[in-house]
């Protein structure tokens, strides 16, 4: 057998091979246990002594050459396979991504958290208060005695009373937490209190009997209207991510004196739109300096302490943020609504 010829033939077959399995077969046939090289080596003892060395060397060279050729061909085949993958034909980039199932946080949770984080960063406490409130916290301590006309505008849900218990109501605003804050915290302090509030109103796309508010209260020494304006501007910057012009105008709330309505330039238009009722202003924050009688009711000396308070309609803010057209969606539990957030 001529080793050179055998090698040349093997190389030719390897070069022509374009299939990994066939290549393995050739390799086995040449250098496997019962292969050509093994047969050659097995024949050595029967050869004349002077040929043995040459044949042995030749067999080893043949083996190495075949392995090299197979490896080379394998690499070539692999790389052409990779190239083939890279050059694969048409790809439709318009195919939508397969859906990943996900959960969601309620939009009220999202917006409340955003505000909480902002206030926490400015040293405010975040407080909670009961939804079922006493008349004292909801009205009296807030300078709204019985028979005060301001009680009318509150459309209160009253709780049925058995016996001589105190008058209970569903809280009509988050303002009772002002009093609870004064009782719980040592001044100076700053606090916000987001939560559910209730008004006995007829329900439509823009009115709900249950809605969310966020109260804020800052108590310190020599707190002025100027501080209130500064704090409210900071708040609005946080909400709308830009500076909005604001205006402060008189507003009447018995628990603040003076009381204000804070309007912001409509963030959605420049010349009037449905959100701002064509006025270019949106009424955002009732606020004011805490009334001395309220400080007293909360156990603070109005000669020493002063402060400001504000209320933010969270439900309304959520509707503004997402462009939600109907307030009733918020507490509907409708999955088609919840899944969007």
């Amino acid at each position: 057998m001529d080793i050179d010829t055998t090698l040349a033939e093997a190389r030719e077959r390897i070069r022509a091979c374009d299939d990994a399995a066939a290549l393995k077969a050739i390799e086995r046939e040449m250098v496997g246990k019962d292969g050509v090289v093994s047969a050659l080596l097995a024949s050595i003892p029967s050869l004349p002594a002077e040929e043995r060395r040459a044949v042995g060397q030749g067999a080893n060279q043949l083996k190495q050459a075949v392995l090299d050729a197979v490896a080379e061909r394998t690499a070539a085949l692999e790389s052409s396979a990779v190239e083939a993958q890279r050059g694969a034909g048409h790809f439709d980039a318009s195919v939508p991504a397969p859906a990943v199932e996900r959960g969601s946080l309620h939009p009220l949770t999202r917006v409340t958290r955003e505000l909480e984080d902002q206030f926490l960063s400015m040293g405010y406490h975040v407080l909670d208060g009961p939804e079922v409130e006493t008349d004292f916290y909801n009205f009296e301590a807030l300078n709204i005695p019985p028979d005060h006309p301001a009680r009318d505008s509150q459309d209160t849900f009253f709780i049925e009373r058995e016996g001589e218990g105190p008058e209970l109501v569903m809280r009509t605003h988050t303002s009772p937490v002002q009093i609870r804050a004064m009782q719980r915290l040592t001044p100076p302090f700053r606090a916000i209190a987001p939560g559910k509030t209730f008004r006995n109103e007829s329900v439509d796309a823009s009115h709900e009997h249950t809605f969310h508010q966020m109260e804020g209260i800052v108590i310190g020494e020599d707190i002025s209207v100027g501080h209130l304006i500064g704090a409210m501007k900071t708040l609005l910057r946080g909400i709308f991510n830009r500076d909005l012009d604001v205006r402060l105008r008189p507003g009447y709330f018995p628990f603040v004196e003076p009381g204000f309505e804070l309007d912001a330039r409509c963030p959605f238009c420049e010349t009037g739109c449905s959100v701002c009722k064509r006025t270019t202003w949106i009424e955002l924050l009732p606020c004011g300096l805490v009334h001395p009688a309220v400080l007293s009711a909360g156990g603070l000396d109005p000669e020493r302490w002063s402060g400001f308070a504000f209320g933010l309609g969270l439900s309304r803010l959520v509707m503004l943020r997402y462009g939600i057209d109907d307030v009733r969606h918020l507490l509907s539990g409708d999955l088609r609504f919840l899944e969007q957030f």
């Binding site: 909670d128 009961p130 002025s224 999955l335």
Partner: protein
Amino acid sequence: MLISYRWLARHVDLSNISAEQLGDDLTLSTAEVEGIEPFAPHLEDVVVGHVTQRVPHPDADKLSVCTVDAGAAGDGTPLTIVCGAPNVDAGQNIALARVGCVLPGDFKIKKSKIRGVESRGMICSLKELELGDDHSGIWVLPAQAPVGEAVASALDMRDWVIEIDNKSLTHRPDLWGHRGIAREVAAIYERPLLPLDLSLPETGDAAPFPIAIESDRCPRYTGLAIDGARALPSPAWLRNLLLAVGQRPFDQLVDLSNFVMLDLGQPNHTFDRSRLSAEGIVVRQARQGETIQTLDGEERKLLETDLLICSGDEPVALAGIMGGEGSKVGEDTSELLLEVATFAPATVRRTSSRLGLRTDASARFEKSLDPTLPADAAAHYARLLSELQPEVRFPAPLSDAGQWQDPAHVLELRPAAVHTALGKTLPDGELTSILTRLGFGVEAAGELLRVSVPSRRATKDVTIERDLIEEIGRLHRYGNLPERTLLAEVTPFQADPRRALVRRIQDRLAGAARFHETLSYSFMDVGWLERTGLDAGPWVTLANPGIEGLSRVRRAVLPSLFVGLERARRQRGDVRLFEVGKGYLPEHAGEDGQPREVHQLALVWAGTPPGKKARWDEPRLHRLHAVLEDLFASLELAAPCWGPLAGEQPGEQAGEQDGETPIWSHPARGFRAHWAGQDAPAATVAELDPRLARDLGLAGELASDVAVAEISIDALLVAPPRPPSYRALPRYPGLELDVAAALDAGSSAASVDEAIRKAGKGLVQDVSLFDVYAGPNLGAGKKSLAFHVLLQSDTRTLTDKDGSKFLGRLEKGLSALGGELRKG
């Protein structure tokens, strides 16, 4: 409240101030202006026409065919108009609505054919123009009205109606009339308030009409006798002002009564004096069971707390709210008694709210009216009536009864307090100027200003120094105050643990567990609770539910998630919802009488039931259980003990109520989690009671596999934390084995777990159940539990020999349990 621009101009010079400007300035300094509308804008389109000819309609008895000249508003050709009014005639000036004109009620005038005659326009009645109720005939305009001109300008009827938000006037009794608003306007623009003569015209010397006040709820009652008054139609200026503010003109006597109320803010009432008793007026509280028929025709049942105006003993008016039928002024009345009084605000408010009778008068009285005002208002009425009817006489001086006191008082104002509160130093001169313009008296007294509060502001509104600061701030304009930054010492912040916990719960559930967060009402419907059997109380209950039946304040959060479950299942094959909220338990009321508030997390996982060949862990009960395990681990809480639903819980007193199966739960299929040291279970996860599922409408095609869970946030807050721990990485490879045990169907997985750990002699690092199977090849009443087991040593590599020793021991352990190790 509606304010007429023209009416205001009777009290203050408005030249160069547009209605819009006025609205903006009132908003910024006084009260919220909600809108400004032109008065009767359609009168710009309706023109003065002249009827040149009127002939009867050839085919209809009651119709006329008129030829109308529209002057410059026409095209030169006279218009033919068919008119049905009996009073139309040639030579009249009339209000002409041409083709294309739109009248109130979106009524567009079109060319039409009326019984064969083409009609090109309409001759209007007052009613059609919303200027009155008269529809008996057309509105005949004055002869001098220029033909062709718009009615609005020809009759000088242009006006603006400014709507002010009543809520922003709650504290200002003085602003419930035009003169009060005009006083603000005068102060804002630094213009004088025009004088108004409020002296009573000459009165005769007859004895004053007798008035007796028998209740402390009427501080003042004045009465003025008027003779010779006639119920004539009001002049145009009066009608138009009343129309502008939405009042229906009636006759002079009624219109002036309304005018005085809307001008000065003081309600008043006229009685037919000839129908009043000679004993005179008695103001007293009602007697139990007494009734009165009010002017609206309703019979009103009264309480002893209601205040009545009586003629002798006969009730003639509900004080401060509405007059009675009995002494109503009629067309033939000529002898009047004008009542102008002050009533206790709380009395008026309580009676009017109880009877649901809110009137212009009650709205004003409940704001605490100035008791000096009645005499002024009586004089105002008398003067205006004398101008319209010079022949009227006032036979007696004003009767004036009551123990009233002038509320005017003096307050001390510290300029420094003004500057501190506003955050800006204003010159003393500006403080004085503002207060003076608003009608306060100001006198310097050393460092202080002594400020006299006029009676109209003194009843309730301005009582402390801070109230004066508000006056200064609003007239200076809050927009002119500088913005200041809050400064405070920086102190380490303690976050509220519950809020922090809730946040982590929400994030884990909405994130890893893929649940949707929902928020529900705090109210539950009584009927729904009864239908679903979830009505076991006691409940906090609304006395005045807004929606019939929606009156229970929820005790727990979970049932809220049941309410919309049927709808959710119709929408989605798989529903995963959670809510964090509060429940209220009246049986655990606190010292202040408030029900105990419980904070809870509720979850529902509902969807298509798993198929027959479903894996053992496919039912949502197991998956929700896994969600909770994951949640607790993510909250870094120690692992709780899970136990059965009913019966004694670890650490619990036998027979305690908390050991009972929850009403919404399947009687057996559920788990409860409990942390050592806590009295009550912290979490319950269970399949929904199939009966409840049926009652919720989850039957038929909506039949569902529903797992629910209720977790006490309060319990999680005090649950023991998982201590920080670390296990060194293994140094030797472990031996993984799968073992399956065949046992009686009633035996527990926990017992097999225990047997495995025992057989491992300390080498068991991990045991996890991966299959539960029951089938014919096992035999009846048997089940198979299969576990992955990891054996591992810290000191050596384990061999197959260790494995077979373990299996040998396990075989014995299982047979002690009455089971066997399955081979294969």
